[in-house]
Amino acid sequence: MELKADRVTKQYKNKIAVDRMSFTLTKGVTGLLGANGAGKTTLMRLLSGILLPTSGGVSYDGMDVGAEEYRDILGYLPQDFGCYPEFSGRDFLLYMSAAKGIQKRDALRKTEELIELVGLGDAARKKVRAYSGGMKQRLGIAQALLNDPQVLIMDEPTAGLDPQERIRFRNLIAGIGKNRIVLLSTHIVSDLELIADRLMIMKEGRLMWQGDRAACESDLEAFYISVINEEKHGV
């Protein structure tokens, strides 16, 4: 099980958002760190098959990420998403189940299960537009898990979560990441300190460093800053 990026590049007119990045993701949690505008979201979209690379390619076990079969095993949480105004949290999950091609009976079971898992049991029948930022984010996390994904890509998943929710999310991801490929992007270093097995650090569209979490200094934040500032290349 591996998700492979091979010299993947994305260019928007005169801006290179992702510049010839090559890496292989295997089972476990990988943290993607970078400042705002580093190209994390573009990379996430390339890995999710939402964007086509300008050059290079992304494949999962040899399968192109634009394939329906790939989307079938993909769980994706975008940085920013909306919801149809008439939907309750439960409706939203059932709708996403249908878009993911899950049969109604399984969708109902999975929806109830995930609503409890992300702690939205009391708010499941409330309209999503009445949800707080944290509740909406938890709903987004739930939808990403609907199809028991083998590849889970989450863009800033902890944004808007309170400290208690952050801990719950960390535990959830640590469990999920044991036998799946999980990629989390964030600009908050502490989010990754306890759960990431591997790290990738991006700056201005380029991969500045990648390696095992254990290979970093104990103070991850200091290590991240040193990589960003000194352009220490470990790639």
Binding site: Y12, A17, T42, R45, S48, G49, I50, L51, L52, E68, R71, D72, L74, Y76, P78, D80, F81, G82, C83, Y84, P85, E86, Y95, M96, A98, A99, K100, G101, I102, Q103, K104, D106, Q143, N147
Partner: protein, 241 residues
Amino acid sequence: MNNEKMIARMKELCSAPEPEGKRVFFSSLRERDLPLGQPAVMSHREFLTGQLSYIQKRIWILSGFLMLFIIWGCSRSAGNYPFALTPLLAGGMLMETGRSRRWKMDELEYASRFSLRSIVLARMFTVGLADTAGLLMVIIVVRPYLTYSLFRIFLYMMVPFLTASFLGSLYERKKRRDGGLGSLAICILSSVAFAAAPLFSGCLYEERLTIIWTIGFIFLAVGFTGSMRGYIREMEEPVWN
């Protein structure tokens, strides 16, 4: 031996053998209660019918009401004004087509198995088909109240409808995140324009101009189809940033 013969010969020699015992293998899995690969997923037909329930109810209600109003208008000898109401029907279809982008659900839908393209196509197909079928029924129902031939009524109903659909689809492509008001305004303006047109050109509904209406119908149908194809093609690589 030329290249073509060589390729054919190579295909013959290198072709994969027919799978043998595949059915026996799968039935043995069933007997032993072992999983047959991926769990059952929806077929495209199930998906299409499932999307029906996600189309906003107010669109069905407004479309139905509008069609009844057109029939009522024709039965009350309201002249050619009822024809000018058909652009309003296109509003529902345009609102449904741009709904994912409008409510920022497009990225989530794009990454799902059926993808944004299938979802939008399913909605557009369902609402568009319902509108067209409804209009055809209206044409048949109002025929006894009007002096025009069935073909001319068809043109007088479809040309305004397609005008709004075509212009609205062009607008939807340009203004992705617009709240839908632009498309609605186009439908209303088209409706007003067709209602007011006889004031400026009294011969508009004369039989001798049927050829102009026919050319207009073909132009709009081709233009609308092309525009929607472009819209769908853009979803293959949405420009998010």
